[in-house]
Amino acid sequence: MSFLLIIRIAFALLMARWKQTLVAAIGIAFSITMFITLLGFMGGLNDMLDGLLLNRTPHIRLYNEIKAPETQPVNLLPGYQQHYNFVRSIKPKNERLQIYNIAAVEKALKEDNRVIGFAPKITAQVFYNVGATDLNGLINGIDVAGENKLFLFSDYVVAGNSSDLNTIPNSIILGKGVAEKTFTNIGDIIQVTTSKGESRQLKVVGFFQSGIQEIDKVQSYASLKTTQNLMVETGSYITDLQVKLNDLTQAPAMAKEYEKLFSVDAVDIQTANSQFETGSKVRTLISYAVGITLLIVAGFGIYNILNMMIYEKMDSIAILKATGFSGKDVNRIFLCIALTIGITGGITGLIMGLGLSSVIDQIPFNTPSLPTIKTYPVNYNPYFYIIGGIFALITTYFAGYFPSRKASKMDPVTIIRGK
């Protein structure tokens, strides 16, 4: 009963000054709109930039690195085990790049439920032979189906069809930059020479464009079988296993685990691309800072309007107190006004933010480096909306708190005697 009455009085005071109230609510609505739009847009951009790399980067890559053995024979000699032994000019062993016992490793990965999937890969250093010159290059032998599923390979194939790699023998998809440098078109034959001196003629069935020029200028894709042929290796020759996980954050720990378990080298995505994460973090931080500043400014607007309202309504406050409303009741009335402004402004802002975000989502955004993006990217993370809503409430609460306290402390006698 008492609470309803307080709401009614608050509402009456609100309506008596509805223009100022509206301005205050618009202030909050505007800042929430900008907060949501800013974060949504920034978030979308971050996702896109991360996606540029992360989509095509395995969470864990298993491979064999060519390196010198860690223990040298001298260390095993009984008399020298307690010594520091300096051995100069150590050369790596004649090791193969291939992952040993690939079938068992694949079976173990398949049974690990932290793993979404994995795709085998072979990397082969080659030269593209163009007339008299040889261009440096790298052919990735891939399992097309797996690569499509895990790393959206076909999204980046800008001409031709990725499945042709499987159906047409000795076929290749060239990086856009490679194709430009070698003046090749789809249907042409390109000659490649491996580092071991083997030459093959491959049919160009498509182009791919990753958006990262350095990659497009060098890399090409072929099927596993074609690459194994090129390398004159058997069907079990796999140099890389690209693993995708359910939870990205587990990658560093699992990389270490696999390193021990399979005795291979393993690198996780965080280690391989630490600069990306830092970039997105800083961008997100900046958008939050700007958004929250907007909200605080809007909060000051509410504070001002309530302060004015309290001076204007001093008489009413005095008489309410004289007729039996306590300081607490008066406090509640003004808090109620502030929160009403906050809630209506906040909800309007959230809806308008969603609207503005979806408008931005429709604006065309074509760039040659990002073939999959057609409009400006926007992230509709509900988390932004929750934070925006909560922050609107908190700001208005504090903007209302101080004026309300002032009103509740107001002495009715001084006001009434002043007349």
Partner: protein, 228 residues
């Protein structure tokens, strides 16, 4: 004054103003108000009569001495308790009407009743109409306060003071802003309330003519009661 039950009692009330200099405004004022009395407090400007009224009204808590309302000591009570006492037991009429312009006349009268929460809204409304009818302004019930004349507004303020059937009505120059005709109307209302409903009234006034028509006059000078 006869068959007296004491409603309000002031015992040795002293009060000081500290700004800019410490001045004693009330000097050990003691008196009591009996049920059904119609009392006028008179005195020159600055003699402390309004200050005394505000101390008695519980709105001013910065005083020495004790105030008893129906035997209950009001000293040291909390803000919410005092608010409740004002709501239940004291009706106020000031020089200025202090009606809330955002509400209709009837809602203005109802507010303290709704705050008390003793009756349903319908019942409070019914009672408010009753009070307006006693004061002869029931036809103005649905108007906004700024559509009324000064005298009518003051009558609405009286109706508001009556809504919770208070033990005592306190007035601070309730006719101070009114012309002769309206002053008379207000006095007659007070006088009728006293006669017909045995309402206790304590009115601070400058208006000697008004004061002389009441039952008892308390005259103050320099913070002391000199007669009554």
């Amino acid at each position: 004054m006869s068959n007296a039950t004491v409603i309000l009692e002031a015992r040795k009330i002293s009060k000081y103003f500290h700004d800019p200099l410490t001045v004693q405004v009330l000097n050990e004022v003691s008196f009591s108000v009996n049920a059904g009395e119609f009392i006028a407090v008179i005195g020159k400007s600055g003699c402390g009569k309004s200050t005394l009224l505000y101390v008695l009204s519980t709105m001013d808590t910065d005083y020495e001495g004790n105030v008893f309302l129906k035997g209950e000591n009001l000293k040291g009570k909390k803000d919410t308790e005092l608010a409740k006492i004002r709501n239940n037991s004291i009706g106020f009429v000031f020089q200025f009407h202090y009606l809330l312009n955002e509400f209709t006349v009837i809602k203005n009268v109802m507010l303290p009743g709704l705050k008390k929460g003793e009756f349903s809204e319908k019942e409070v409304e019914h009672r408010a109409y009753e009070k307006l009818r006693i004061l002869g302004i029931q036809d103005e019930a649905l108007k906004m306060p700024n559509q009324l004349s000064g005298g009518q507004k003051q009558r609405v303020a009286i109706a508001r003071a009556l809504i919770n059937n208070p033990l005592i009505i306190m007035g601070d120059e309730p006719t101070g802003n009114l012309d002769k005709k309206n002053s008379d109307i207000v006095f007659n209302i007070f006088s009728d309330l006293c006669k017909d409903f045995n309402q206790t009234l304590l009115i601070v006034t400058h208006d000697m003519e008004f004061a002389h028509k009441t039952q008892r006059i308390i005259e103050m000078e320099d913070g002391k009661i000199i007669s009554g």
